[in-house]
Every structure is written in C-alpha cells, then in structure tokens.
C-alpha cells in the first residue's frame, strides 16, 4: 500500500526534482504513444525532430523564442491573479482586445513616422486588455459574478469583435475586401533583435517584466497581499487588506499584460491585424503559469518548454505527417505530470504492508 504523509516543511530536493521526474515521465509516455502510432519511422528520429531540432537549428530556435514571448508576458500576468485566487481564464480575449486597440492606434497614424508611436501603441494595447478585464472585475465586485465565466465568455466576444472590425473600420482599403488590415508601416513595427529572424524586442520586455514581477511578489507587500488574499481571505482582512482592491489589481495586471502581448503579436510577427491573431496563447499561458508554479522567473523557462512543444510539434507534422494534436497531447501530459509530481513537495510517500 502507498500512503501520502504531509511533510512539516516543503522538501527543497523535491522542488528541483519534481520537474525532472515530470519531464522524464512525459518523455516515457511519449515513447509509448509513438511506439503505437509510428509504423515505418524510427522513434529516435521523431524524438530528435520534436525535442532537439528546435534547439539546435538557429531558425527554429528563433521561432521558439518568438512563440515563447507572448506566453511569458501573458503567463506573468495570469500568475499574479492565480496567486490571489482570481481565475482569469480569458487572457485570449484580452490579448485580442489589446491587439485591436494598439493596432488601431498604429493604423490611425499610418505612415506617420516617430519614435513615440510604438510606446503609444503599447500603452493602447495595455489599456485595451485592462479595460476588457475590468468588465469581469466590476461584475465580480458589484454583483458577485464569477470571473471565470465572464472572462471565458468574453473571449468569444473579442474574437468576433476582431472579425467585425476587420470587415469594417480597420479593413485595408486596397485589400480586395479581404478581412485584414493594412500592413503596419515601419514606425509601427517592433524592432528585430536577431537579424533575419522574426525575433523582436518583446522578448527583452518579457524578461524585464519577469524580474519586476519577482520583486513585486517576493520583496513587496503587494505580493503578500496577493498571496494572503488567495490562500486565506479572512487573514487578508485581519491584515487590513482590501479584498476588492485585490480583485482589481489581479484582473487589471493580467488583462493589461495580455493586451500588451496581443499588440506585440500584431506589430511583431504578424505585422498587421488578421483574423488569425488569436493563436491560443491566452489559454496555453495558463499551462505556462502552472508549470512554473506561478513563479515569475520560472515562467520564462516554462514558456520556453511549451514553445518547444509548439515548434517541435509543427516540425514532426511537416516532416513525418503526424497529426498536429501531438503538441496538445504533450502539453496536456506535461501539465498533468507536473501537478502530480508537485504533490511530493508537500507530501512524502510511505510504503507499508497492509495488516489484517
């Protein structure tokens, strides 16, 4: 028989070991799956394409970083809300709204050159995401409406709103009626930080944001407020924290960062607003945040890991004709094993004989 017994103190060894165990288990499970579905192809070459190639080939590696950037930025925002027990599931919608708001500013100043344009677009993107998330904050505080439902449902509204805008005010006037905006002009495009790739300055912003978040969470009362409100609401009141403010902070920060990521996507890799702007980053970032145990610096790494599964998944799809759902299977297994292994931080496993 196996029994889980609570530890008095969190196990430091397990904090490090648990991700390694989880990764190993994911790889083993993948092996089993491949053994079943692969017929003529050697498993080793699929593994290589999936896990190693994106890290060894410079183009694939740059794409990996491009995909990791929005995951990092959104994941950081979500992790703050999740610490407080505010479940913003609709980062995807805030991402889209940020893209629309920031993109609209860029299109309004079409062909106007100026260093101020990108910061202005970034601010508009943040505000777009914040305003959209504030609907959920307002409804939760005023009418106790569950923020999970509100944010999730508003995601679909945002996606439809994007389509409406692309068929109306934001449509390219000389675009043959395709539902797409104009391509952004140079001043509205993010600077590229790795020549001849799509890797843009957003990655640096993401890294800076992660250290800012780390400071706020570990070294500032703001982090304590968020953490205490999340794990013991009555204790938060005892400490003199206003629980309504916690809701506002959580949703505004996560919404604002999702909006920023949306703008970065539009004025970075996409270069225009298209119906294809939402790419599930808002949902995948939830996995990213949990894989990092909501740790702001850890999110940088978990975003890279998930981005690896995106790029590797696309490659095996192209090279070996494997289904694209491979990527999702991976992400799902990874999260599953991570959450399971994290139990070992707080509990130890004891084997004992059943005595009758």
């Amino acid at each position: 028989m196996i029994k889980l017994i609570p530890r008095a103190e969190n196990s430091k060894a397990m904090i490090i070991l648990s991700p390694i165990i989880a990764l190993t288990l994911t790889a083993l499970s993948a092996l089993v799956i491949f053994l079943f579905i692969l017929e003529d192809i050697p498993v080793s070459s699929v593994f290589f394409t999936l896990f190693a190639e994106p890290l060894l080939d410079s183009y694939y590696f740059s794409e990996l970083l491009v995909k990791a950037t929005p995951l990092m930025i959104i994941g950081l925002g979500l992790s703050i809300g999740f610490r407080a027990g505010i479940w913003n599931i609709g980062a995807e919608g805030q991402f889209v709204m940020g893209g629309i708001a920031g993109g609209a500013v860029g299109l309004y100043f079409y062909n106007v050159e100026g260093f101020w344009l990108l910061p202005l677009m970034a601010i508009a993107g943040i505000l777009g995401g914040m305003l959209y998330a504030s609907i959920a904050a307002f409804l939760r505080i005023k009418y106790q409406v569950n923020e999970i439902l509100v944010t999730l449902m508003l995601t679909y509204v945002a996606v439809l709103f994007l389509q409406a805008m692309l068929q109306g005010p934001l449509r390219n006037p000389s675009g043959f009626n395709f539902p797409e905006s104009r391509m952004f002009h140079d001043s509205a495009m993010l600077p590229i930080i790795w020549e001849s790739t799509r890797l843009h300055i957003g990655l640096i912003v993401a890294i800076l944001l992660s250290f800012l978040a780390w400071f706020g969470i570990k070294k500032h009362m703001f982090g304590m407020q968020i953490k205490i409100s999340g794990s013991a609401p009555r204790a938060a009141k005892f400490a003199g924290f206003d629980d309504n403010k916690t809701v506002w902070y959580s949703l505004l920060i996560s919404g604002g960062l999702a909006g920023l990521a949306g703008l970065f996507e539009a004025s970075g890799p996409a270069g225009q607003l298209t119906p294809g702007l939402p790419q599930f980053y808002g949902f995948t970032a939830i996995i990213v945040a949990f894989l990092a145990r909501l740790h702001p610096v850890g999110i940088l790494f978990s975003a890279l890991l998930i981005a690896l599964s995106y790029v590797g998944g696309e490659n095996v799809q192209i090279d070996y004709n494997l289904p694209s759902s491979i990527t999702q299977i991976f992400q799902g297994m990874l999260l599953f094993y991570f959450l399971a292994c994290d139990i070992l931080i707080k509990y130890k496993v004891v084997l004992f004989k059943k005595n009758n």
Binding site: I5, A8, E9, N10, K219, H220, M221, F222, M224, K227, I228, S231, A232, R234, A235, K237, F238, A239, G240, F241, D242, V350, N355
Partner: protein
C-alpha cells in the same frame, strides 16, 4: 474487581513519533474514568485505538475479560462502545429523531423511534424534543442528542471527548447528573478532559498521559488541581496573580454599537456599550454563537463602524481598517488560528507580516526587509517559548498551542496600549495556556488595557476584574462579582434579562 476494558502495553507510532508508548489502563464497569493529558499527549490516539479507527503497533486489549481487537468503529459499536465526539456530527436541517436514526448502524429510516428517545430522555434527564430541527437547538441540547444517540445502542462503555468545553455552568451540572446516573446503571465512562476541577468532581479514577507515555493512574480526589496539572505538563505552573494594578484613564470605549448581521445565521448586535481603562483586564463571557464573531469583526476593523461608536485614545476609529488601527497601538488575536489569525500555508516569518506597525521597519513604502521580519519572529519565538525548529516553518505545521503562543506573542511583543483577544487558550494545552495567561497579566501590569472575549468561564473568572456577558447580541453591564457572583453570570449566559 470486574474490569470492563483492560488495555495493556499499547504502542502506536507515526513515523518517528511514538503517539502511545507502552500505555496500560483499566476501566471498571460503573465507573467514570478520566483520561488527562495535554494536546499531543496521545489521548486521541488511545481513544481511536479503543474505538477501532486505529490499529495499535503492539499491545493488547481485553473487553469484559475477552480478547478484543476491533478493526473498525462499527465493530467497536457492536461490542457496546459508544463515543460522543467533541465536534458534533449532526445534520442541522434534520430533526432530532432523524439524526438519531441516521447514527444507528442497522435501522431503516422509516422506523419510529420517538418513544425510545423519550424513554432515555426521561430516564437520564436528557431533555429534548424528538421532532425539533437540530439547527434550532443550543449547543447543550445538541450534545444531549449525541448522548441519546449513543445510549440507544446500550453501550457498556461511553467515551466522552471534552464534553464540557462548550457548555454553560448550568448545562455542565445537568450533564454530570446524567453521567452519574449512567454510571450507577452499570455503564463505564471514559471522560477526556483538561478541566481538572470537573475531573475531581465526577471521576473516580484518572489516568494521566504525557508525551505518549503513561505518567500515573490515580484517584483525582487525593490530589489538588495544581498537582494534577503539574503531572500533566511535567513541570511547575506559575501562580497567576497581578503584581501591579494601576488603573488609569479611559483608553477605549464602545458606544451604543448596533449592527444587523449580513449572514443568514449571524447574530445581530444590539446597543453594545463598554468602557475600558488603562491597566484593566475586561472579560466578555458568553456561549459561542451569541455575537462574539460579529463583535470581533467590528473591533478588529474587518468591518467599519458608524461615526463616534468606537473611540480609542480620544480618536474615532470606526472607519479605520485593522492595519490603520494597529498603527495607533491596538492589537488583536482572533479566535480562529488557521485561516484568520495566521495563514496555514505560509511560514511564520510571512505570518509575522499580517500585523505590521510601520514604525518597526519591517516594511518601508511596501518593500519588505526580510531580515528585520525574521529577527522579529525569532524574538517572538524565544520570548513566548514557541516550540519550532525555525521561523521558516509553515504555520500549519505547528501544534495549536504553539501557534497560539506565536499569535499572542506577535501582538504582545509590541506592548500594545490595547489588546483584544478572542478565546486565547481554545484547544491549547495547560502549560501553554498558563504562559499565555501570564503574558496577558504582565501586559496589564505595565498599564495596557486587555479585553478578553472567551467562552471559557474559568479563564474569564481567573483573569478579569470587570466581567460582562454577551448573550443574543446584547452585552450586560459589568457583573458585580461580590454581590451576585457566578449565579448571575450563568443566568445571563443563557439569556436572562439584561441587568
């Protein structure tokens, strides 16, 4: 001599911890046998072994002379062992009769038990109405339902876990009449308690455990209360006494505080007034659920009050939150440890920050100085004798008594002008309770005001010089102990007229 239950050399370990180490005791039929010990002494483990919910690692038991090793509580009940738990397991929305039927092992729901219930109710003075809904009953009445539920199974041994901790003095003496009658009728009773005066009053034998080991079996009447307590904790108790009573001017007052509760099952507070002076210890007695939680929320500042209701040191504090109140030197210890006064999943250092006067330098402009925080929590740990390996332990890993010492220490180390404590020794072992009481007294000796809200009447009586009773949301005037005494308090606690 006939023994109903004989336990020999029981040992039970959890990992490295020996919860019971070679414990033996024998319970005679028709006797009330006390099981005494601090929290963590191994009382619950022993009881769980008797009741079949735990298996011992070594040792054996005999039931009426026969070998007895129950594998489940069901088997224990079949043998005639019944137990009344400290926390009742009753469904509030069901009637007394339905609750009793649900507790029985082999009965269909449609059988009629009214007559049976009334029979026991009459025979043992357990006054209940079988058709009443449990949600409407007082704590004392609920306990009677639990007892009847046990009696219906004709037990030979009744185990009672801390039965008097929530009862009024009148209810306690009613309970004792019932227990004595039960014992006279041949039922053995194992009475678990830390209230030594009660044990001396009704128990004919006592077994004392400490740290999982048997300390002594004795006849409680042959020892004083203090001797029993010292056997329990294994060291000498400090005699509680104030060394310096120096009552100063008014420091805190509540004026005509009324508040409708937002909660459906909450208690409305009516017209509460109270004035406290520097250097005084004031007690608010009363049975749980009479408005203590609602009052505490307003005093801490978790809910704001109207203008000119709460005055501290000449300042209207009604609209200040708890953090702002602390800056004026008001500190609080709430009743609930885990989840209210402390966050279970956070370290002691982090919990230190729940209460943070800005003058102390633990934070500046919101930036936390973790070194300063640790040095404060280390100081609390050493000054208040908190047993923990370090200040980085999670709050939930501490025993109730140790966490309570930490929480009381966290507030008292600031030498507050006013401290408001709710149930300071609830579920705390005798040694820790003694420490906590002593620290509250010495705080008052230094000129601070102390307000104690407690259901434990002994605690209020031994500490406070001014006593009020909270009943159904109303606060009595101070009770004149010399003139009216305990009887008046008892009467006020069950909802007598406001004096």
């Amino acid at each position: 001599m006939k023994y109903q239950l004989e336990i020999s050399n029981i040992t039970k370990s959890y990992g490295d911890l020996k919860a019971n180490d070679d414990v033996s005791l024998s319970i005679k039929s028709s006797s009330i046998h006390a099981l005494l010990g601090e929290n963590g002494a191994g009382k619950s483990t022993l009881v769980k072994i008797i009741y079949g919910s735990l298996m011992p690692d070594a040792g054996q038991m005999k039931w009426a002379g026969e070998k007895y090793s129950p594998k489940s509580p069901f088997e224990a009940r079949e043998n005639g062992i019944a137990m009344v738990f400290q926390h009742f397991s009753l469904f509030e929305s069901l009637t007394v009769e339905e609750n009793i039927i649900l507790g029985l092992d082999k009965v269909g729901l449609n059988e009629n038990f009214t007559d049976e219930i009334l029979k026991y109710s009459k025979q043992y003075g357990l006054d209940v109405n079988p058709q009443q809904v449990v949600g409407d009953l007082s704590v004392g009445e609920r306990q009677r339902v639990e007892i009847i539920r046990c009696l219906i199974q004709n037990p030979k041994l009744l185990i009672m876990d801390e039965p008097t901790s929530v009862l009024t003095p009148q209810e306690v003496s009613d309970l004792f009449v019932t227990l004595k009658k039960l014992a006279d009728d041949g039922c053995a009773i194992l009475y678990i308690s830390h209230k030594l005066e009660e044990v001396r009053e009704i128990c004919s034998e006592a077994t004392i455990l400490r740290g999982g080991k048997l300390v002594q079996s004795c006849i409680p009447q042959e020892h004083t209360q203090k001797e029993l307590a010292e056997m329990m904790i294994g060291k000498k108790l400090t005699e509680l006494a104030r060394s310096n009573i120096n009552i100063g001017s008014d420091i805190f007052s509540i004026k005509n505080l009324s508040r409708k509760s937002d909660d459906m099952y909450g208690v409305h507070l009516h017209d509460i007034s109270l004035t406290m002076k520097q250097g005084s210890i004031v007690g608010i007695a009363g049975v749980a659920g009479n408005g203590q939680d609602e009052l505490m929320e307003l005093l801490i500042g978790e809910k704001s009050s109207e203008d000119n209701v709460l005055t501290f040191d000449g300042e209207d504090i009604g609209s200040l939150n708890s953090h702002e109140r602390r800056q004026l030197s008001m500190f609080f210890v709430p009743e609930e440890r885990l989840g209210h006064g402390a966050v279970p999943d956070m370290t002691l250092d982090e919990n230190m920050l729940l209460s943070r006067p800005e003058s102390e330098g633990m934070t500046s402009n919101g930036v936390i100085d973790w070194k300063a925080v640790s040095s404060f929590s280390e100081q609390v740990i050493s000054d208040f004798d908190v047993q923990t390996p370090s200040s980085r332990m999670l709050a939930k890993s501490l025993s109730g008594g140790n966490l309570q010492k930490f929480m009381v220490g966290r507030e008292l180390i600031r030498k507050p002008k006013l401290v408001i404590v709710a149930q300071p020794t609830w579920g705390v072992d005798a040694g820790s309770a003694n420490n906590i009481h002593q620290s509250l007294i010495s705080l008052a000796d230094q000129g601070s005001a102390v307000l104690i809200i407690s259901q434990d009447l002994d605690e209020i009586l031994s500490l406070c010089e001014q006593i009020h009773v909270l009943s159904e949301g109303s606060l009595s005037d101070a009770v004149d102990m010399k003139k009216d005494g305990l009887e008046k308090i008892s009467q006020l606690m069950v909802g007598g007229q406001k004096s």
